[in-house]
């Protein structure tokens, strides 16, 4: 499997640093995003994802470090090829859907005709064609989300930066959003999206960067990350609900037993066949499979803390500090 994605990288974040008063939102963050993939930018609340994305699209300037696009520092011309969907969704509430999309398309350099044609296309594609002449404020939350996505796509961006795009979506909305992202990536665009719900989005992205406290803690293709560390096996032997067959296994360590299903971590260099042999010796093997780690486990192994706990602590910290300051 190809782990080196460097040759096709289109977006690079290099040693980004940004502080808000005492708080270091970005602490030397570096990672790169290849073109043509749906890339997940993951981490708990308060990890620095929004700050990093704002730095990418130029809404804020980093204190130090650099963002590069296709090998060159990002300038105004490059930014016009980016599409951005901020975490805190925002459009003019009193403006008509089509009028707003055309306006935003033109801000990104499209002609009036091109902006209108693209806005018509995207509203049709996202199922809001009948809402074109309605004011944003009259739409449902779901439809406002669709307009927001259309606003990020209307000018045909080569880099899509989406901050928590799945947040607040129903399952159908998540499927629609994933389909659009996959479609843009397949068309050659670079797609970077953030999420603090690691396990929910692990099936959507092809590669990820996981950050914590403004620093990268893991990066790579999803398949590699999930299979990294000790290989994991899940085995169930008929007639052994307590999983006693695994007692004294030399090739693997038991990490859990649930209703007769034994979860095992294979020892380095050990052969899974030894485990299978021992299981078969104990009785008929009903289930035998390798199991991938969840991304929250990848996070826990990298950081040494549980994702949910970190998330909760960050939310409490933010609530306390939300009397002032730009969100990080």
């Amino acid at each position: 499997m190809d782990t080196d994605v460097a040759p096709s990288e289109s977006l690079e974040l290099i040693e980004l640093r940004r502080s808000f008063g005492e708080l270091a939102a970005l602490d030397g963050l570096s990672f790169s995003v290849p073109a043509g993939q749906v890339f997940g930018f993951l981490g708990p609340n308060g990890a620095g994802k929004t700050t990093a994305m704002r730095a990418v699209v130029g809404v804020i300037a980093p204190d130090a470090g650099e963002v590069r696009w296709r090998g060159a520092p990002v300038d105004a011309a490059a930014r016009r090829t980016f599409g951005y969907m901020p975490e805190e969704r925002g459009l003019y509430p009193g403006m008509m859907v089509l009028e707003q999309l055309v306006y935003l398309g033109r801000l990104y350099g499209l002609t009036a005709a091109a902006a209108r044609s693209s806005a018509l296309e995207w509203t049709a594609r996202l199922g809001i064609a009948d809402k074109r002449d309605l004011k944003i404020e009259t739409l449902s939350q779901g439809n406002q989300q669709r307009v927001q996505l259309a606003a990020a796509l209307v000018h045909g961006p080569e880099l899509l930066v989406l901050d928590e795009p799945f947040s607040g979506l129903d399952p159908v909305g998540v499927d629609d959003m994933s389909a659009v992202l996959a479609e843009r990536a397949a068309a050659g665009a670079t797609v970077l999206f953030s999420s603090h719900q690691l396990d929910l989005v692990q099936d959507i992205c092809e590669a990820v960067a996981i950050i914590h406290r403004g620093r990268l803690v893991a990066q790579g293709r999803l398949a590699e990350l999930r299979r990294g560390g000790e290989p994991r096996l899940v085995v169930r032997v008929a007639g052994d609900p307590a999983g006693h067959w695994a007692d004294g296994l030399a090739a693997a360590r038991v990490t859990g037993v649930t209703s007769g299903t034994v979860s095992l971590a294979l020892s380095p260099g050990a052969d899974a066949q030894q485990v299978l042999d021992q299981a078969r010796a104990a009785g008929p093997v009903e289930h035998f499979a390798f199991e991938d780690r969840r991304l929250s486990e990848v996070f826990r192994e990298a950081v040494g803390a549980d994702l949910d706990e970190v998330d909760r602590a960050a939310r409490e910290e933010r609530a306390a500090a939300d009397t002032g300051g730009t969100r990080s």
Binding site: F20, R54, V57, G58, V59, I60, A61, A76, R79, R80, F82, Y84, M85, P86, E88, R89, G90, L91, Y92, P93, L104, L107, Y108, A151, D322, T323, G324, G325, T326, R327
Partner: protein, 386 residues
Amino acid sequence: MNSWLGTTWLIAARELRQGARARSFRIVTILMVAAAILIPAALHGHKSAQKVGIVGSGPATVLTVRTAARISGAAVQTVPFASLGDAEAALRDGKLAAVLVPGREVLIPRAPYAGVPTSGSSLEGALALAGGLIRSGETATAPTPSPSLPIRGLSPPLTGLSVRLTGLAVSIVIYVLIVIYGVRITVGVSEEKASRVIEVLLAAVRPSQLLLGKVLGLGLLALGQALAIVVTFVVLGAAVGSSLIHSASLEVVGVGAMWIVIGYAFYCTAYAAAGSLVTKPSDASTASTPVQLPLIASYVLTFTVLYGDSVYGFYWFLAFFPPTAPVSMTVLVALGVAQPWQVALSMLISVASTVLMAWVAARIYGRAILHTGSRLKWRQAWRREA
């Protein structure tokens, strides 16, 4: 009923408390109290005796001056002159407030724009009245049609009433347009911030572009409106042959139009910065109050000079002070006291200050516009990191 009133009062009391707690309310109150002290002092501040020249002498002269002083409430000191020529020269030099020629007339430096005063509230009016009554008493064989002595100005009034009225109208238009469009800018910026569309916009354009685009768009709208008013004024005035349409009035309108542009340019960025400080559009009006205070002050003080016969020093200062110059200098033009070079200098100072204001406002706007949470104070926004 009581409960209905009680509830209503609860609501009113909360509004009172909240309103009185607002910093802008305290600032406005302090400024208004200060104005209430300073304006009368500026207008009638001199407690020292006013000098009245007396040409020749007669038994009733002292009585005339005393009576006039009592009627007008002024302290008066008399200066005797042997000839009318000497008295007129002293009056022209500004050494005297008025000259009394007993039994004949009262002289003042400049004829009032609205004709001679008929009441005794001014010193010259009181002198004319007292002098006339005493003359009637001395020669009471036949009553004179008017008991007052005539008042004569050594020089004609600077401008007529119609020009002054034009000045007032133009200063109202300047004030109203700047405030209306300024507050629209504040509300517009705060709406962009509150709806978070600002982040989408800032990904596409720079804050300075956004700021400039907004003030330019609304500025053009304001200018269009001003132009419509001016064109209507000129065309309609000419059509009906109004006395308001003559060169002096048109000069005031022309200068006023230039001040609308300069004044708007000066204020618009400050209004935008005010909008960037708040997180709710409902706070926009409070945030814009400090910005418009100088404009309100200059507008209110306009009445003290438009209907007076002289311009006091502080008003001259306001005519060169950029936040108040758009209204105050236009008024001085309407009064006919401002020289072209003074108008040009004031405009130059304002344009230079506009650049400075834009720089300060852009810095505040750039630092405050992405802030979430509580409302920022001006100083906090200035010190924030970009």
